[in-house]
Symmetry: C2
Subunit: 379 residues, 2 copies
């Protein structure tokens, strides 16, 4: 064996206790962190399989769906996005992709990498997706198989009308593919009532679980399309016809990959907390914390990127006053207050900050700290 | 909002304390579990980025490499496998795939899904990969761009000669793609000395970290091949030209996906433990625990699937005596002793058990418990 440099100086990493008010990961409750570190058991252990069955029930409640296909992909939200596209889209198929921020563009990239053709519907960053433009795009492309859009754009804080977009898609016999990474648990998302077909989310936003998992739910229509594919799914890891055998409650579980056991404990715990609080109460809490933050920010002279009607309570993008050294302000908040807020992303980089009020992070004390610290640092 | 069934009866999940002696996940030390539940900080926090730089150093030590491209993929080992194939293989390219167990077959599936052509080298389950057969396959297919093989087959417990296979591959100007999921940290794996090109592993085997991460290292030659691709990588999530921007130590980090922050704390801690013990000491511990287990199992009348010369110390596949109700024995061990051993996989299902001695699980007390419990349950 060659004598390789042994990194002797490296010790255990002890992170500080931050208050996380960026675009995610969000603050995590002590209960969820405790669940995370419970003893690891085997991923085929009968007790673990029972836990996964409960997790499916809890996810169905969070998504408000009875979809049999409701699972957590063993990877972050961007893998949840890719799961929906690689399974649903076959080479040559057209997809209407709505782009009003970073994640709409990422959807386009996914469509193209699947060999699909993306029909772009562009809206301004900060504006919601225009339902009319979607209808025009479908009228011009009646052979489109799906409409893909972001319910809650994490890069801008804009909320789009998922129910209306999905309704238009259905009129043209197209499936809806919905990015609910930032919406799930923070604002109403009614998968069955709105008849959404493929919806993915992330663990680290309004569910306040550790990052690394992506809840996904597929309607019967979406599952049917997967089962009728003529070409194989290009990804083995994300092929849901294989994964379903692992998550299925009936009969013998077939081994697909090793589930991220401890992260799933944490997701289970965060969903139990959501169920105990109640979905509607959680949505109301996000709204009420947003109202307090909004009043305080406006008093400090800040203005919002998104106009009031389509503003997300859980992701507040505000313009940075001219002449501000924005990186220094964020650095001061982090170093002097252990408070993280988010930088702007994409076309809002350097122009806006993003203040998250997500899940366990949407608490009165967080809002007060944020307002006071911003006031102190900016003066 | 429709009034959906709220799963009121579901409470926090409290797993028991098991002794994990299956094929993984392996026993996790209290230190690693503690690291896992440290406060979550942002994935772009300067302190987190510093932690990731240390993680790269620690992974380089574990892999015995100076490869600049040494990271942890934010998903389980099967995604690490897919990462290597989707980045390295372009449609139409030939890959020699060695198949002597479940994971060689999975490699073949990956090649096909990338549009590549798999040239199969079959060896019996339980036997190591035949270097001669690899050479014959390369002689017959001198245009093959890579040779893919499993260093330590988790489904059988066979160790193949990675150094010799890689040497043959080089003679034919083919890259080596190596599954080191079960070997990393358990037996010698010298990435640079053996000139391996693309090596992936898993967090939940001999590193004794939680499942859900896949360490990957790529040689300069492998990175060159990726940079010269003519077709885009079919996966956005696993496209390493995008991921590298996030893991790169130089300049500004670009956002790709949200890293699984807490799981990376745990991987860091498990690698610090490996570094503190020393790689060679860890290998010797696995060997010595295997020796004790072997003597005990043979006294109980068990015989090994793999012959002595290519037997992995960390994964012991033993034949189940005829007439044994194998599921009942595993069930009794789990329920009465909180001890997990693994079932057979693929063609060994129902015929063999797999006893893992991996990482923190390779301890004297575990071996004693396993031998005594097996003796009691079998009588």
């Amino acid at each position: 064996m060659s004598s390789f440099y042994s990194p002797n100086s490296i010790q255990s990493f002890i992170p500080p206790q931050r208050t996380l008010m960026g675009p995610g990961p969000s603050d995590i409750s002590p209960q969820v962190l405790q669940a995370l570190s419970r003893p690891t058991i085997g991923h085929l252990d009968p007790l673990f399989i029972g836990m996964m069955d409960e997790l499916k029930q809890l996810l169905k409640y969070a998504f408000q769906t009875e979809n049999e296909f409701t699972i957590a992909v063993s990877a972050p939200g961007s893998a949840g996005m890719e799961t929906c596209f690689v399974n649903l889209i076959e080479p040559g198929e057209k997809v209407v992709v709505c782009r009003n921020g970073v994640f709409g563009e990422r959807m386009r990239e996914n469509v193209v990498r699947c060999g699909g053709e993306a029909i772009i519907v562009d809206d301004e960053w900060g504006a919601p997706v225009s339902v009319e433009k979607v209808e025009q795009a479908l009228k011009a492309n009646p052979d489109a198989v799906a409409v893909a859009f972001v319910h809650a754009e994490t890069s801008t804080g804009a909320l789009s009308d998922a129910e209306a977009i999905s309704q238009v898609a259905r009129q043209y016999d197209a499936l809806s593919i919905v990015d609910a990474v930032t919406s799930l648990g923070g604002v109403p998302l009614l998968v069955d009532e709105w008849q959404l077909d493929a919806v993915y989310s992330g663990s680290q936003k309004c569910l306040s679980c550790v990052p690394g998992l992506s809840p996904v739910t597929l309607s019967k229509k979406a599952v049917d399309k997967i089962q009728k594919r003529e070409t194989p799914v290009q990804s083995w890891f994300l092929d849901q016809s294989l994964v379903l055998g692992y998550w299925s409650g009936e009969g013998k579980r077939s081994y697909h990959h090793t589930a991220p056991v401890n992260s799933l404990y944490a997701l289970h715990e965060s969903l139990v907390a959501l169920k105990n609080e109640g979905l509607e109460q959680a949505w109301a809490r996000h709204q009420s914390m947003h109202n307090k933050l909004k009043v305080g920010l406006e008093k400090l002279g800040f203005s919002f990127v998104v106009s009031e009607g389509s503003r997300l309570p859980q992701l507040n993008a505000i313009y940075i006053p001219e002449g501000t050294d924005e990186a220094k302000v964020r650095g001061d908040l982090l170093e002097q207050y252990n408070l993280e807020i988010g930088a702007g992303l994409g076309s809002l980089a350097g122009k806006a900050w993003r203040i998250g009020l997500m899940g366990y992070g949407a608490r009165n004390e967080n809002v007060s700290l944020c307002l006071r610290a911003l006031e102190e640092v900016m003066n």
